[in-house]
């Protein structure tokens, strides 16, 4: 078959991605991140079922700098995936497709996820 030079559609890297597109790919990234985070959740529960010594090991890791960083990231990923997931459900219902509305919702999701993470961590230190 002869090679025909057809015009190519501009690919991903030549666009400045709108916030909604960035939120969309972040939704997927946080989903994958949360998937790996379930290792930590499972460790927590298995350690608690195994006894005080195993639980102590988990607590040591959760209290380390690496552990705190991972837990903080997990909290944010969960907050983002929750809020953006809600937005996806609204889309499924047919709401919020307008360009301006979608941009506003993206801002709300990004801001809300940061706010929720900070609230959870401050509250965790208080209680």
């Amino acid at each position: 078959m002869a090679q025909i030079e057809r015009p190519l559609s501009p690919h991903l890297q030549v666009y400045r991605l709108p916030l909604t597109a960035l939120a969309s790919i972040t939704h997927r990234a946080t989903g994958v991140g949360l998937g790996f985070g379930t290792l930590l959740l499972t460790w927590w529960l298995v350690a608690a079922a195994s006894g005080p010594e195993a639980y102590g090991n988990f607590q040591w890791f959760a209290g380390s700098i690496l552990g705190i960083l991972i837990l903080f990231g997990f909290t944010w990923a969960l907050s983002f995936h929750l809020l953006n997931g809600l937005r996806h459900l609204f889309w499924d219902a047919g709401w919020g497709f307008d360009k301006q509305e979608s941009h506003k919702a993206s801002l709300l999701v990004v801001g809300g996820s940061v706010a929720l993470t900070v609230i959870v961590w401050i509250a965790a230190f208080i209680f």
């Binding site: 997927r28 989903g31 994958v32 949360l34 998937g35 379930t38 290792l39 959740l41 499972t42 529960l45 298995v46 608690a48 079922a49 195994s50 006894g51 005080p52 639980y55 102590g56 607590q59 959760a62 209290g63 909290t75 969960l78 907050s79 929750l82 997931g85 809600l86 996806h88 459900l89 499924d92 929720l116 959870v120 509250a123 965790a124 230190f125 209680f127």
Partner: protein, 129 residues
């Protein structure tokens, strides 16, 4: 692949068994059902994390042992891993081209989610019962 003109097989025969088995939206729908179930469960879990952060072995196991907590935690873990399995499958299908790698990786993800889910739920039951 042979061009359709060189084959005596009818177009219908070529696609039979490859197309929709009348469950085309099943995966999509289950992803939504599990997502909706996870909304209240996740809010509850985040609120619980606030109270539980840094709690001792005694405090944590006593919390898990409460019947309502054990049930909600079991549901959060079970539905969460189910949602994860469905989501990971889509990611794998989108990014992995080679059919054999695709099958192996998605199978590994299925095994991992079931293994982790079983370990988590067994642990909850062991503490609670």
């Amino acid at each position: 692949m042979a061009s359709p003109r060189s084959s005596l097989r009818s177009p219908l025969g070529a696609v039979r068994g490859l197309g929709s088995a009348k469950d085309g939206t099943h995966h999509w729908w289950l992803q939504r059902v599990t997502a909706i179930a996870l909304v209240p469960l996740t809010i509850w879990f985040l609120a619980s994390l606030v109270v539980l952060s840094g709690s001792s072995y005694e405090v944590f196991t006593a919390w898990v042992a409460q019947p309502l907590v054990a049930v909600l935690l079991g549901l959060f873990v079970g539905v969460g891993f189910w949602h994860l399995k469905l989501g990971a499958q889509v990611v794998i299908e989108d990014y992995i081209q080679a059919e054999s790698t695709k099958i192996i990786v998605s199978m590994l993800v299925n095994f991992a989610t079931v293994l982790l889910g079983a370990a988590a739920i067994f642990s909850i039951l062991k503490i609670a019962i």
